[in-house]
Amino acid sequence: MLDTIEFELVTPEKLMISMTASMVVIPGAEGDLGILPSHTPIISSIRTGVIDVHNESKIERKIFVSGGSVEMIVDHCTVLADEAIFLDDADQNSISQRLLAARKALEEVSAEDPSRPRFEKELFLAEALKDALESSSKSSS
């Protein structure tokens, strides 16, 4: 039996990361999933949140995902995310800018605009991203 799993994170645009990990914590739709080697095969939806990739009992990478799904088969853990950002090397300025832009864009669309949900979603994502970044920088310092 292996004591690591192969973790893969893909977005529609590219394969973001492929690495081995001793544990992966995923924000599942119905609560966080801690995935260890030999986890039962599972397919689950992911809510907006942060994926922690653990290696040798410390968190090696923190990755923000906007949502998606995860599939686990025989020590392969594949996350399909709509959008993923590495929190370790995320740029704080660009994130706050994104938040501001999202706020502004939402203000500019009228309430009846059919594309409004998209702007609301963008604002929600930008806020979640900022929170995630703040909490991760707090815990590391």
Partner: protein, 298 residues
């Protein structure tokens, strides 16, 4: 006999055309490389999405009735054709082939008395189709991915298509695009998006694959909910893939077309230069004859 000045002007103009076409070829080659890279890096996602869909669809489908996106709404009266073409021309037969395929499909559907709706992506197909099928075109998207084709472009189209489907505006959706095979060959492909055909056929294969893995999945939340989350996303992914393939094909087609144009211009310059030299010699000879005969007359 053409006069020398005219020939010189023509040679110059063909030369500058050649410069333009060869520059366009270079640009297309660079863009092709980028588009190809993008298409390749998008492949892992759609591969894994396919795999996940297969393992989901094998469990669901016949027994549970299945979501509409997977098994259809039981009708096939109204067809939606999503046509993916380019915004700009000068890319050989790229758009012509797409339009030809769309026409063929429309004729087939017309014969069997189906209703047709068209959604155009890209200016070129819209311009051509509007001439004969203006009534069918319900929407067109343009200027996608001018700089960089992103997933959000694809999901915008997907959302639009899904909304139409929810409102029962069509029963079957097909996407027509140029699939990239190599820089010199693109294959026009028609792929059915809604309902998702093919997964049923591949069910048996996937069950086998399952047994090999020994994996029966747990689902969280329920299988049905995941499927209803994944199916719309799958549509967006398929559209994204088609857009990427089409972008790569477009640049490939343009590169080939411009390469041919450059070569033809080269041939034309050679021909014209030959004529020019011949004419020049003839002029010199006739001038000499005039001088000599003039001198002899004295």
């Amino acid at each position: 006999m053409p006069n020398l000045k005219d020939l010189r002007i023509r040679i110059e103009s063909v030369k500058s055309t050649q410069k333009i076409t060869s520059a366009m070829k270079m640009v297309a080659a660079a863009k092709l490389r980028r588009a190809q890279e993008q298409a390749e890096s998008a492949r892992p996602y759609s591969d894994r999405m396919d795999r996940m869909m297969v393992s989901l669809a094998s469990g669901i489908g016949e027994n549970l009735g299945g979501p509409k996106l997977l098994v259809g709404n039981g009708k096939s009266n109204i067809h939606l054709i999503v046509v993916i073409s380019s915004d700009r021309g000068l890319c050989g037969g790229f758009n012509t082939y797409i339009v030809r395929e769309v026409r063929r499909q429309i004729d087939l559907l017309d014969e069997s008395g189906k209703k047709i709706k068209i959604l155009c992506v890209g200016r070129k197909a819209r311009d051509v189709l509007r001439r004969s099928y203006a009534a069918y075109i319900i929407e067109s998207f343009e200027d996608l991915g001018r700089q960089h084709l992103s997933y959000s472009d694809a999901s915008e189209i997907a959302n639009h298509v899904l909304k139409l489907f929810e409102n029962d505006e069509f029963d079957i959706c097909t996407i027509v695009y140029n699939r990239f095979q190599s820089a010199i060959s693109q294959v026009v492909t028609a792929q059915q998006l809604i309902p998702l055909r093919g997964y049923k056929n591949s069910t048996e294969a996937s069950v086998e694959a399952h047994n090999v893995n020994g994996a029966v999945h747990e689902f969280e939340p329920s299988e049905k909910e995941i499927l209803s989350d994944l199916l719309p996303r799958n549509i967006a992914v398929q559209i994204f893939r088609a857009l990427l393939e089409s972008a790569a094909s477009e640049h490939g087609a343009r590169m080939t077309a411009m390469d041919n144009a450059t070569r033809n211009a080269g041939e034309m310059i050679d021909d014209l230069t030959l004529t020019y030299n011949r004419t020049r010699q003839a002029v010199i000879t006739s001038e000499l004859i005039e001088i000599i005969s003039g001198a002899e007359a004295l």
